[in-house]
Structure formats: C-alpha cells, structure tokens
Amino acid sequence: MKNRNWYEKKNVSGSEAVILSLLAEKTELLFGYVGGAIMPVYDALYDYIDNLNHILTRHEQGSVHAAQAYARASGKTGVCFATSGPGATNLITGLADALMDSTPIVCITGQVNSKFLGSDAFQETDIISVSAPVTKWNFQVTSAKEIPEAISKAFYIAKNGRPGPVLIDITKDAQQELFDFEYKSTDFIRTYLPFPVKNDLLISDAVNVINNSKKPLIIAGHGVLISDASKELADFVEKANIPVATTLLGMSAMPADHPLYFGMVGMHGNYGPNINTNNADVIIAIGMRFDDRITSNPQKYASQAKIIHIEIDKSEINKNIKADYPLCGDAKEIIQEMLKNVKFKERAQWIRSFRDCYDIEFEKVINNQTKPYSGAIHMAEVINTISEITKGEALIVTDVGQNQMFAARYYQFNKPNSFISSGGLGTMGFGLPASIGAKLGAPERDVILIVGDGGLQMTIQEFATIVQNNLNIKIVLLNNEFLGMVRQWQEMFFQRRYSYTEMSNPNFTAIASAYGIESKKITQRDELADGINLMLKSNNCFFLEVQVGKELNVLPMIPAGESVSNILLTYEN
C-alpha cells in the first residue's frame, strides 16, 4: 500500500475515515484498547495494519500515558483509542495530566449510537461533559461527514500554541455511515490564535533591564523543551553570563555540566537557585507557569525582583506571579530576538554565590546521599550510579514521589528532552506506561524507568505490553516498602503517624519473571554497579529491583507555604 493518497476516497465508512484522517496527519503509531462502541474503528484499522502500528495496552490509562510520553519523546502528537463508558472515563487521568504538562495528544473514543444518546444506554457516559475541564478542546461527532474536519482540527489544536489534549467522541452510527472522504489540514481557526504577536518594544525594554541587572536568574521551564529552544537558551545564557536553573519539567533543557547551570528550583530543588530567587534583581522565567511547587508562598516569592515572563499561554501571565515584562509568545522566537541585543556583563560575585550554595548543599546533602558508606542503599546513590554509568545520555522516565525527585536531582542530563515525568498532576502510575511511549517515540535512545513500589503497582499490568511488543526498556524499582513521599511528610509534618503508607509487597522479580521479563534484585551496596551494568547490557527489557532504605528523605525541602528562602537542608526528627 505504498504511495497511497490518504486525502480522498469515495464511499468510505466513518471508521475508515478515522484511519485515513490519522494517516493524513502522518500518524504512524497509536495506543488503545478495544471495546464495543469503537469496534467499527478497530475493524477498519485491521485493513491498515501495514500503515498504522497500534499498541494494545492492558488498561486505557496505560494507553493515554503511553501516548503522552510518545508525544514528549518524539515531538509528534500522541494518539489513543478507547471505547465508550469506562474506556473513556479511564482516559481522564491522562487527559488531566496532559493538560497540566502541555502535551499534545488526540484521544478518540467510541460512543453509543446517536439515537441512544442520553438514554443511559449500555456503556454510555457523557464523556464530552466529563472531559471538558481536562481537555484543551473536545467534540462529539454524530455523523460520518464531520469526521475529517473534527480530526483535522483536533491535531491543529493539540499541537499548536501551548500544546494540550483533545478528545473526539464518535457515535457508533457515525462510524458505520458511508460518505465520500476528503481531508483538508487545518491551518486556521477563527476563534483561536495559537501564536500571540510579539511585542518588540516590550522585548527591547526587557533586554535593557537584563543588560543593567546585577543579579539576574533564568528559570527555564518545559516551554523551552517544547519550543526546541535548548540551544538558544544556552547561547543566551553564555552571551549574557546569567545563571540558570530549570523547573522539574524543564529538566535537561540545559546540560548538567554547564558552568552556568545550577540545578532545579522548587520544593525539592537545589539550594542556590531557591535561595537566590529571593536575592535576584531580575527573574527571567521562560516557558513556565510559577506553579506553587516552585513559588511555595507567592506573597514571599521574589518580591524584590523585576519579573520577565516569557510564556506562550497568555492566561498564565499574571495568574500566579505578576509580571513586570510579560513577553507573550514562543520561547524560541523570543530568546532569538533577545539574543540580538543582550550584552555580556561580569557578575562574578553573583555567580560565585550559586557555587557557594552548591558547596554547602554538597556537603550537607548531596555527598551523604550519593556516597553513603554504610547503612541501607540510598535512592540517590542508585540514580547517581546510573547517571555515571550511562554518562547522562539516557532518557529517564519516572513515576511520582521520592523516586521522581531523586531522579531529577541526581541524574546528570546531557541531552535535551531526556526527562519524562508527570509534573503538574503528579500522577502515580504514570511511569511504566510512559516508559512504553517513550521507547516507541525515541527507539534509538536508552530508556530507563525509575519507579517506586507504590506507583509500579498502579499500572503494573503494562509489563505485558512491554513483552508483547518486545520493548527494550530498563526498569529500576526503588523499593522502600513505603509510599515514600507521603511517609516523609508524615514524618515531618504529622508527628511520624504513618497512616497507611507502609506496604507489604509481592515478590516483584517473580512477577517480572512471570511476565517473561529478565530480572534481578539488589540488596547490597557492592552489587549495585554490577546490577546496573547487567541491566544496561541486556538486549531486552530488564527489571532491576533495588532494596533501598525504608525511611529516606528527599532534601533540601521547602515546606509547603513557606518562603523559598526558608529551604531546609537538613531535617532531624
């Protein structure tokens, strides 16, 4: 079926039109789970097996998280199919996650026959209303002829401007109806202007402020990666000589060994950038939204600094932190524009203050955590060892919680787009299915999943998807037999009342083996490096369980609601 024209075909069913529309959008791969109301689409898919690769996950939540990570790893739009009712509602967590983390996905759900809409038919849910608050756009199709335009708009909306999730709900009769298919790509929607106009005057004002600043700090967010502006960011940082930190999702936008990169801001971020947020005279926030995990207490956040906020989504400007220079637009374009006139300035003392802070943090936290010589294995040393062995080249996927924070803090990212994690929504169970999407989206890269024992058990059924598709994913389970992050909060803020955070776990390596995944469990420090090497040398999926300390704490920490200056380096109960 080479060189087929996907744009026109006479007398096709709505279902075939769905497939043809996806092919017209150059979709090569999608995720999904079949069920009654989407069966006609799956039947049409059967004729296009050579053109469109479909991955059957073991739960709809798995398919939507995989689609998200596929989008983030490949830069394309992720696609997933689900049936009506429970199939559709199982997508909700992934949609909410994708909306928070600006991920372009198009979800197509089957719906009951349009005659039965509103009758509480079998597997009927009003998914348009249910998904409205967690989608960038959604639309219900009740007639086949609406399909090409709906899908074309869906792709345009998902990908352009600030990316996000879109859901198209198609009734079964629309899937079965015949019509003459014709596809036109969308390039304009009269109500939606994805690219705000650059305000050149304001940009040049902002550049003047930067050029005159003594203590500027750049905070680079996910937007830098989405707009593929890592190189421009590094050029800007070097040309102007400004220290830079990233947000959790901005991780890997700067190479870890860059002399002006000082780590992560936020609740478990690095000491220097957090403390210096409240010492800076100018904050240049690029493609980030001042989430409360970054600002902690917005009233006590950088009130001394002029804020330059570069952001494509106008509604994020002045939402959490007031911007003195709101630069609404694409990060790459604006950085390029600013690069023209930004000037080098010596800021030796300011830059040294970040190094001094790092030295303090290294002595009080990093060294103890990454190189403990006694006691149980530390999560930080596992990440640190993986980072050293892989030379910071791997694509790291994480679940949510302590595993995620240690991965972000201690993996020394060398390449952009190397960190896929659920940031805004904090979805436990994201990791395993996301690793599937990441591997399929970037097959040439080594994909390593860092996951905890809690999150793994939320979506553990996706082991089967990995095996069925023979995916070479490295899974590192940091097992502390606790819901570690919640336990840490219970220790610090709830007088160590460990209410339902301790877990009695199954034999994980036996489960992996039962699925046909090679596995190994590490309990001793001196086995760690060998275990990681064994995992990395395997040509197949490998499951490495590491028994880590039960009551480890992620530090530093800004207690919720405190000023970023009140960051704790140590904690003694």
């Binding site: 348009i128 209303s129 409205a132 608050p133 960038k136 756009w137 959604n138 639309f139 219900q140 909306i157 304009f188 929607i189 009269r190 109500t191 939606y192 202007l193 690219f195 106009v197 989504d313 106008k314 509604s315 400007i317 002045n318 939402k319």
Partner: protein, 179 residues
C-alpha cells in the same frame, strides 16, 4: 481585596458544550454567577454571553484570560457598571382579584413605567424593564397584592467604548495572515 460587580461579555462560536466550558471557568474557582444570558450577537453565528458576578479586579482579569483560552471563544471583556448600558426585564403575575380592588393599579404602572402585558379574570401580568433595583422596588410595591409568580431575566448589556467586535475579529485575522 475589594470585590465589586463586574459584567463579563463573552463572544463565542455557537458550539454545543461551550456553555459548560464557560461556566466551568467560574465554578472551579467557586465564583457565584449572579446572572447569565446568551444570544446571537450582531455578527451572524457569533454568540454573546453576558455574565454578572461580584469579584476582585485581579480575578476578573484572570477570568477573562481563562475564557479567552477556550478554543471557541473569540474574545472576552470585563466591564464595571459605569462602562455599560444595561437592563433586566421582570415579569409579575398578580392575582386579578387582589389588584383590581385597589385604586392604585394605574398609579403603580405609571410611576414605574411598567407595562401591563395581559389581563384575564384570574391574573394580570405586568412587565418592567430596568435596573435590578427598579424591578426590585416594583416588586416591593406589588407585595401588598397577591404575587402569584415573579421572574427576572439576567442582565443584557451594551458597552460604551466604540471599538466594535468586528474590529477585534479583523485584528485576529490580520495577525494570522501576517504569520
């Protein structure tokens, strides 16, 4: 934070499901909508919501941005009462027996510039268009009779600034074309 009355005008495509997206912007922030009306605007196919609420100026700005973030919303505006010409309509159904015995029916209708819409043996329907205070005041005057039903519409409002919606829309289209 001082709250005051704001009127939010939202211009949208006539798309099903959009009412939910518009109201969710308010409800998820636990903002109570005082009144809401929707109708077609001066441009064919473009609908106009008029929403009244009490809130702070900062929140009104956030609301406008969040509304404009919705794909099928063209444009949203916030206005204070001074920037608007606005009206509401109220209908009062009075038991005929109770009011016809009174001498003041004519006085009341004249005084309030109200209209009698319908008279039957059982009831009289009076209409009053005006500010909420005026329709409330008439309600007060009619209370001595037997009010069988009372209904008041949401606010409809026209803005005083002269820039038309069409100009705003053309701006958008020109930006697109210049890309």
């Amino acid at each position: 934070m001082k709250t005051k009355e704001y009127t939010i005008s939202v211009f949208t495509e006539n798309a099903p499901g959009l009412l939910l997206r518009v109201t969710t912007v308010f409800t998820r922030r636990k903002l109570n909508i005082e009144s809401i009306t929707a109708s077609e605007s001066e441009i064919k196919g473009i609908h106009r919501y008029t929403i009244v609420l009490f809130t702070t100026d900062e929140m009104a700005d956030i609301i406008v941005n969040q509304l404009e973030k919705q794909i099928e919303v063209y444009k949203a505006f916030k206005h204070t009462n001074e920037e608007l010409v606005y009206q509401e309509i109220a209908l009062y159904k009075i038991r005929a027996k109770s009011i016809s015995q009174a001498d003041y029916t004519e006085d009341i209708v004249r005084k309030f510039s109200a209209k009698v819409l319908s008279i039957t043996n059982d009831y009289i329907v009076i209409e009053k268009t005006g500010y909420p205070e005026e329709t409330k005041e008439l309600y007060g005057s009619l209370q001595k009779y037997e009010i069988l039903e009372f209904v008041r519409s949401g606010r409809v409002a026209i803005t005083k600034p002269m820039k038309s919606l069409e100009e705003h829309l053309n701006e958008k289209e020109n930006i697109y074309k210049s890309k």
